[in-house]
Symmetry: C2
Subunit: 314 residues, 2 copies
């Protein structure tokens, strides 16, 4: 009987690992550094070694482990083949084949944002759902989509990359992806700070945000000011909410999810985010898809290891 499963979430600086039972209880979690030098050639061997040690420490037999699920940044297709992951130094190869050869156990792999979405569906903000959109508002805007219980991977593993959908024709600055007017330019932590700087520069209106040097304005500072009733900050939140609310309306119209889970650093502002997102979502979403619930993510940085474990158990 396969009682256990490992979930692995590979990031640019650390690898998070979780040792789970089949029911999704995390029995232990830990981290190891991500060694990206030499094309990231040590990353999977380091993971294999760490899992081997953990199994020895816990006296867990290989026969008791269903396998290892892996989430990693970059385009990863439905077979777990990574097609380049710049942050890790990786080119193109099969994660399941490589890691299976090192550990002699089944391995499944997917894009980290898609895997995190699976985690939120299993044990987070979308429990019990089969159709879910997860949005991560961090330095960028990440996304993961679950359709009928499975990750929407797409043709080359770029499914759910909602941070780069076009939402503004009049933008002049380029996004990190080189297009202009991407959702990420307005709804990420960086994007919110940029919207705030623009508002501050466009008028002399009094605002507590003026006490902060312009280049140090953060999304957190904006939402702290919103909570204190600062008018200029409220206007920034309104613009953020309009871009994100309308984009989520479009996404919901295409995917028809039961729930939209919002996570990432910006989501620490809490339920107040939805006061700005929901009016635009409600106004623009197709009536047939308007039943989608908007909710905060629950698993924080652990969504990846939960989702990776779930991916392996699918």
């Amino acid at each position: 009987m396969k009682k256990y499963v490992f979930g692995v979430d590979i990031g640019g600086t650390t690898v998070k690992l979780g040792f789970f039972d089949r029911e999704g209880n995390v029995l232990e979690k830990w981290e190891i550094p991500t060694r990206t030098e030499n094309g990231g050639e040590n990353i999977l061997p380091d993971i294999a070694e760490s899992i081997r040690e953990k199994m020895a420490e816990k006296k867990v037999d290989r026969e008791a482990v269903a396998g290892i699920g892996v989430g990693a940044p970059g385009a990863i297709d439905a077979e777990g083949v990574v097609h380049g992951a710049v942050n890790l130094g990786w080119g193109t190869f099969s994660i399941p084949e490589t890691l299976s050869a090192l550990l002699d156990m089944p391995v499944k792999a997917g894009n980290d944002a898609n895997v995190a979405a699976l985690g939120e569906m299993w044990k987070g903000g979308g429990q019990g759902c089969r159709n879910l959109v997860a949005v991560t508002l961090g330095t960028g805007v990440g996304g993961g989509i679950i359709v009928n219980g499975a990750m929407l991977t797409g043709a080359v593993g770029a499914g759910g990359e909602i941070g780069h959908i076009h939402v503004e024709d009049d933008e002049t600055e380029a996004c990190a992806c080189k297009n202009t007017g991407c959702l990420e330019q307005y709804a990420s932590a960086t994007g919110i700070a940029r919207l705030a700087r623009r508002e501050l520069q466009a008028s002399d209106q009094a605002s507590t945000l003026r006490e902060i040097p312009l280049e140090r304005i953060s999304a957190k500072a904006v939402f702290d000011a919103v909570k204190a009733g600062d008018e200029l900050a409220v206007r920034v939140a309104g613009r953020f909410g309009e871009y994100l609310g309308k984009a989520l309306g479009v996404i919901a119209g295409i995917v028809n999810p039961e729930v939209i889970v919002v996570g990432g650093g910006v989501s620490k502002a809490g339920e107040i985010l939805f006061d700005y997102i929901r009016p635009y979502f409600d106004k623009t979403v197709f009536s047939g898809c308007s039943g989608a619930r908007l909710t905060l993510a629950k698993l924080g940085n652990d969504a990846g290891i939960y989702g990776a474990a779930k991916l392996m158990l699918e």
Copy 2:
């Protein structure tokens, strides 16, 4: 050995039926009227009767038939339960259960637009693909999405309803869905005619479209004029292309399809459509998803019966 399969496409006035071999060769196709009176209670019995007659005529034994696939308008969930189909008079019930009971054969059912997308993937413009977006530009704008070989049904069967994604904030007229600024208001046959009427009313510019009474302007007339080099018509095509190209860019960014298949009455204008769509698609789509091919649908009104047969064989 199950050598055969039936594909059924239920429309508001006629039901199309196809008798296929497993390889997707259509051995015969025919139509019967759709009797929508009395809540559409005769529709499935009529289909059962017609299939029974065809099997007798062809001397096909029930054991040789894999089953019956059905596409129908309305919200139909992953189990084939229809949650209201106004055109047919239907409320909520299970199509597979009801039709299976009448014919004693396996039945699967899905939304007609999603099923048509499956048909285009199997034998039409998206052959060999596993990730596809089908757009139907008719009186309205319909859509069907295939993810990893399966229909994107969504939580309540409204997946792929791309006609009602919000694309214009400044619209004042309401869409049939009661929202304003839906893609359908600009990219359907009706929408293109509306754009043309607006352009004609906004200026005195000479145009061959002025020879047609305003209320009789059609999408076909617009694209005929485009082909003849009419400047005003070209501007209308440009607006159509901008709305649709950017919307397809957004959809591709979310779904990461291999191919986008464009069908419906408007697509009879031919490849010239893409001259107006592609520039906006290319300019706005996320680079990771830009590999999506734009192509014309191939199966016309038969996409539904092909897709229904394929659904049953899945």
